[in-house]
Chain length 338, copies 2
């Protein structure tokens, strides 16, 4: 049985959607057991089926907008998030899923789960929508503003194993986000990464990719430093949100616009769904001791159950042991830094 630690309390619609999501996941996936961390009384209100779900009481909830994440994690070891994360090192769970405060989760993962031996910089990797419906792994959307090419090689390798084993891509292709497609484009970091990825040949590298291809890229994985990938992610989010607002405003301006929108409502909803991350799952934190998945703050039961499925897939397909083996074997090339 794969054991998944689930923080029931973090999220815009917690704990209801998280608990329903956990019940849904257990129903759909036969080989999982869930440890559900949270307020006993609150959980009892929504948990209608205890099959393969164990409730573990937690006295505190780290609030969604937490501005001092490190302090919050350190001062609240009894929070649902901290308990769920701490269960990984203790061997009580194989993976953790949480839709709570992002920064607190990242801080907690580093403090309580810690890095995989030899892995230099963790990376946050959401899956963004793609025109082919399969999605693209984008990294690093975390906080590594300064990074070395060798660290990005580790991160890209992690993404390749994940894409192969969990997303079932035959030959995952890595692309480097850049301002032009030709070799030699971009900053010094980009040129070094281009050369390193080309020379190492440990995965298929398609070279530089411009972000005007962001929804239809020639690769499965798009990588850049933590500043750039975060800017790309938020620009996508802002453009999609803004365009949605524009479209709604235009359609509501005339009678025929409203009528047309009403007739096409089903299609407009599919469109919205295709642009949403709920279908694909949460963002993975690559490079930890064990898998931690950040489901969207606005997760509903269905999306949250997908993040649990994703966590189970990562464990079942031995993504972590496979990456750890590579990191061990190639370890010396990263020098003795840190």
């Amino acid at each position: 049985m794969i054991k998944i630690a689930v923080d029931a309390m973090g999220g815009d619609f917690a704990p209801k959607e998280q608990i329903e999501g956990a019940m849904l996941a257990v129903k759909k996936i036969n080989d999982i057991e869930i440890n559900l961390y949270g307020d006993k009384v609150e959980i009892a209100k929504y948990l209608t089926n205890h099959n393969r779900i164990t409730v573990i009481p937690a006295n505190y909830v780290i609030p969604m907008g937490e501005t001092n994440p490190i302090k919050a994690i350190k001062e609240h070891p009894d929070s649902s998030m901290a308990l769920a994360l701490a269960s990984l090192r203790k061997g009580e769970s194989d993976a953790a899923v949480c839709s709570g405060a992002t920064q607190a989760l990242i801080a907690g993962a580093h403090i309580l789960v810690r890095r995989m031996a030899g892995f230099r910089r963790t990376a946050i990797a959401p899956i963004i929508p793609s025109f082919n419906g399969k999605g693209t792994i984008l990294l690093d959307c975390g906080a590594n503003l300064e990074i070395r090419p060798e660290h990005m090689l580790q991160q890209a390798f992690f993404a390749v194993v994940y894409a192969k084993e969990v997303l079932k891509r035959d030959n995952p292709i890595v692309g480097l986000i850049n301002i032009g497609t030709e070799a030699g484009k971009g900053r010094e970091l980009d040129k070094q990464v281009y050369d390193l990825f080309t020379n190492k040949k440990i995965f298929t590298f398609c070279g530089n990719v411009e972000t005007k291809e962001i929804l239809d890229p020639p690769c499965d994985i798009l990588i850049s430093d933590g500043y750039t990938a975060d800017i790309v992610m938020k620009t996508m989010e802002g453009t999609a949100k803004g365009m949605g607002k524009f479209l709604k405003r235009e359609l509501s301006r005339t009678f025929f616009g409203k009528l047309g929108a009403l007739m096409a409502q089903k299609n407009l909803n599919s469109f919205k769904k295709a642009m949403s991350a709920e279908e694909i799952g949460g963002a993975m934190i690559f490079g930890l001791y064990a898998p931690v998945i950040k489901a969207q703050g606005a997760s509903k039961a269905y999306g949250f159950s997908n993040a649990i499925r994703q966590a189970a897939d990562v464990v079942r397909n031995e993504v972590y042991p496979k990456v750890a083996k590579y990191v061990q074997e190639s370890g010396d090339q990263f020098g003795n830094e840190e």
Copy 2:
């Protein structure tokens, strides 16, 4: 009379749309004269009104996909683009408008127009759509991958004068693109820019702006280095293009989707128009000796005439003399670099 040099031959639909755009501009704007550079025979096919338009023959057209822009400009001083640009230094024109190959235009502007005295780094500044319909100036979408905070201060000041005099914003507000809104966020460059803009107080600075607000920002001007702003611009472009494709695919999937789209066609067209840059005009190259405007490669007559109007507004409102005066007066703060 304001004299505008127009490259008739560059653009996806040149010279037809450029010539029609020039005639449209002359019709709408009373105080302009146009020098139209291009193939005499080709121009004669479309130029039906010579009122305030002088044709100046050019023997060569720099192709749209030109891969060696510097060589192209240097080897073809008789090209329509090079002749139009060279007319600025000679005092034959007050501003130049071109929808031809972007990289060649930037190279040509640096070689033939050159920088304003004391201005360290030129910046390319398109106007991107905004929810309020007024548009936001985004810079630098050029090639300054490495830049100093002082250079960005000059660029931001230029954008402020431009926003005030041409776009008629009362008190233009500058925002710094960043991965978080709090002071102290981002890379070393971002922190330095934040401090410099805050301390100098030569324009209103609203601090850091996240790109999830890209279509509805709390400012008139969004600035970053040439790598980042280019990534933001192309991510917007890619997301908008990709979403358009998603929407079209979804709407064409069912009978009601198609019917609804047909009924709302007028609204969908307004939506498309609101997201397009054609309404607002072309991208300015800030910091040259005289104004050069890059109209979109896919410009049609209307959009191209808007870029000509924009050029006339820049000249009429003395944007360049105003910036030059500031740069002269504040010159020594930029040190003796270069």
